[in-house]
Assembly symmetry: C2
Homo-oligomer: 430 residues x 2
């Protein structure tokens, strides 16, 4: 494979995680080791930064900033939800794609790395295919990222270990709090975590039990299984009767057997005529309080769970960094149209490590990896030992970060921009 | 003052905090230094443990467990919301008080320490007064504890520094996440924290700004000030126009000018006829989405904020421990009917420390300390520099804790009980 000399562009896409910047750091640090890579640019707000020719100049950043990305949450380059959508709007998509290659050509971009989840890997694949069609020499590698852990073929998704460490820690702590208040009156605590269709995030909180069935969380509701109100209430009652308190974790996207989301109450409209979206935890609270008359309080972690750099997993951060490095090495070696994946290697002595591999982007896009049914207890209320064995190593180790005035001190990129070479695009995306 | 020889009873009451066990550790460790204190007991679930003669034997605990209480959240002895309520039910209260002294007498309790907030200090005071009336030699000292920070006369309340450190860290991190997703569409994030009438907890998140007006949180809604929807919406729009995103922190108890809670929507009833309590953040989200058409997401931290031992303030933990020690020293010195308070001492060189003092319990009970109006900006949307100067030192330092499998490893007391000397009480409280 002939050496490809040119510039590198890296972008971040979709919802941030605690580890998305570790992957960025890996891409940048590995790129710095290869002479064939000349300029290193970061797309501001993902693909929007490509369309707007808005590049952050990485060579202008301090080395300690690039190193500090390893412990900094959020997406340091900025991110976006914009998708080049051939299915929905083929004309706009073709126009966008034209613009992407106009920008790539103007800046001699020959290496493109996209750090993101399912949609982002699809975008990366489309760009790879277009480059091949045009005969434009470009190496495109996807770097996995999603707290949802729903990408196929990879052992786990960078970001998942950290969200699991934070959520399991939180559920463990809330469990201690609630247990210490447990009196004969009984009490129920419901904690809502992210996960619209995949239950990996909710399932991960089982680690807070530490193998003791009596410990919280007592019930974990996964979006993979239909929510059956009667069985749920019976289980809550059983737990409260036994322990005077019950801690429930719910994935935000749980659905009734008819497919309707529990958190979306279509029967009620607000004063403006919109359906009231109280959320799954609030809805469950109403049900428990009304039917069991058990006092219930909720926690809804929202974005706090995916940005909790102060409680990130070192294993996850290291794996995320390694994925960034591996992406650059694969591209240098001539690969394109691939996503980096993590491969779990159990050594004969029982010790565990992860190596990286590659999987064609075409086999990633639009495939959703759910929690297998045989990793969940028969009654559906808890992940089982198979899941625990899988998830436990992912939360090992603490990411160290500096503090200032008692709060974390994270890094930010200097917003210095690469010089624009083109005019405004014909149509700037909204 | 003659030396009083006898046994010690300590209890924890009300909602737990990350630092309530540090105070317990201080009481126990100081008590161990005085020969006049013979047995050390912990009341299981606060005053309920007194009424039920249910005492945890502290002398049976390991020294490393007592030391580990310093970093362990929740109430290690168990807590309760039970109140000896003379106003509401004088007959029951008199019966309870009779039982308290029957139990104290049977176990020769001569030192009683109650770690708690406003209601608990009131209970401690009632017991002190009753002891005086009966001529029963007893030293009663209250140890302050509340994340709400609303006890009068003390510089701050043990627990407040830790909830503030965790909440400010969380708001800081969510702010980074949201800022990195900010595109021209605009976005609003609303984070709900505890505080029903006092806004100290919400106000504390201003530390996440680190003195930069552009940084999140952009708006903090305190229960002390009436919520005016139009002004709020205008402010959100102003912030989104300027920064493409807006982070709002709301104290759960904010009220409309007519006194109604924003989070309690009385206009809607659920299918069982109960009013729907969506919470302040959810209600604000509905308003922002409907009126400004700005996409909005919420976080509701609930009990996670008061149990977050993994992000506790060392300053707070040290002060909490010191309050426990000081309570025992005061009692040994002959004091009773007092609460320990923290006194801020600013040295001429600018350095800061806290000493402890005493305040009569009668001056604590049923007085609520709110955020002063002149510590809040004129427009009411942010605490000002006076508040920041007050709160900043309270979050300094990190409490270290051991981990196991990537999660915190906290201590639990051995549930070994002191032998009962009495029969069941005439009427066990429900």
């Amino acid at each position: 494979m002939a050496e490809l000399v040119g510039n590198l562009l890296v972008g971040q896409s979709g919802g941030p995680t605690s580890a998305i910047n570790a992957s960025l750091s890996g891409v940048i640090q590995e790129a710095g080791r290869h002479e064939c890579i000349e300029e290193i640019y970061g797309a501001a707000n993902g693909i929007l930064g490509v369309l707007n020719e808005d590049f952050i100049d990485i060579n202008e950043q301090k080395a300690k900033t690039i190193e500090g990305l390893k412990y900094t949450p959020g997406a340091a380059l900025g991110t976006c939800r914009y998708k080049i959508n051939f299915a929905k709007n083929p004309e706009k998509a073709a126009q966008d794609m034209e613009r992407v290659f106009e920008v790539f050509q103007a800046h001699n971009i020959r290496y493109f790395f996209y750090i993101g989840g399912n949609d982002s890997q699809d975008t990366a694949n489309k760009i790879h295919e277009e480059a091949v069609r045009r005969g434009y020499e470009l190496r495109v590698i996807g770097v996995p990222k999603t707290i949802d852990n729903d990408l196929p073929h990879t052992d786990n998704c960078p970001g998942y270990g950290s969200v699991t460490k934070y959520n399991a820690t939180t559920v463990f702590e809330v469990g201690i709090d609630v247990a210490s208040m447990a009196t004969d009156e009984g009490f129920c605590s419901i904690i809502e975590v992210m996960g619209r269709s995949a239950g990996w995030i909710a399932a991960g909180t089982v680690l807070a039990k530490r193998g003791n069935p009596a410990n919280p969380p007592h019930i974990i509701l996964l979006p993979e299984l239909p929510f059956e109100e009667d069985k749920f209430l019976a289980k809550v009652k059983e737990v409260v009767d036994a322990h005077k308190h019950c801690v429930v974790v719910v994935g935000e996207g749980i659905k009734y057997p008819n497919g309707e989301e529990v958190g979306a109450d279509k029967s009620r409209l607000d004063s403006f005529g919109h359906p009231v979206l109280a959320g799954a935890a609030e809805k469950l609270k109403q049900i428990v309080q009304a039917k069991l008359e058990t006092k219930t309080r909720t926690v809804q972690l929202g974005y706090a769970q995916r940005s909790a750099g102060h409680c990130a997993s070192l294993t996850d951060s290291n794996n995320s960094f390694a994925c960034g490095e591996a992406a650059v090495r694969a591209a240098i070696a001539g690969q394109s149209g691939q996503m980096v994946k993590l491969v779990r290697e159990v050594h004969p002595n029982g010790s565990l490590r992860w190596s990286t591999g590659l999987q064609p982007l075409s086999e990633i896009a639009n495939v959703e990896h759910l929690v297998p049914r045989d990793w969940i207890s028969e009654d559906g209320f808890l992940p089982n030992e198979k899941f625990v064995e899988y998830a436990k190593p992912l939360v090992e180790g603490e990411v160290k970060y500096p503090t200032e005035g008692g709060l974390p001190k994270y890094v930010t990129l200097d917003p210095v921009r690469a010089e624009k070479k083109l005019g405004e695009p014909a149509a700037v995306p909204a």
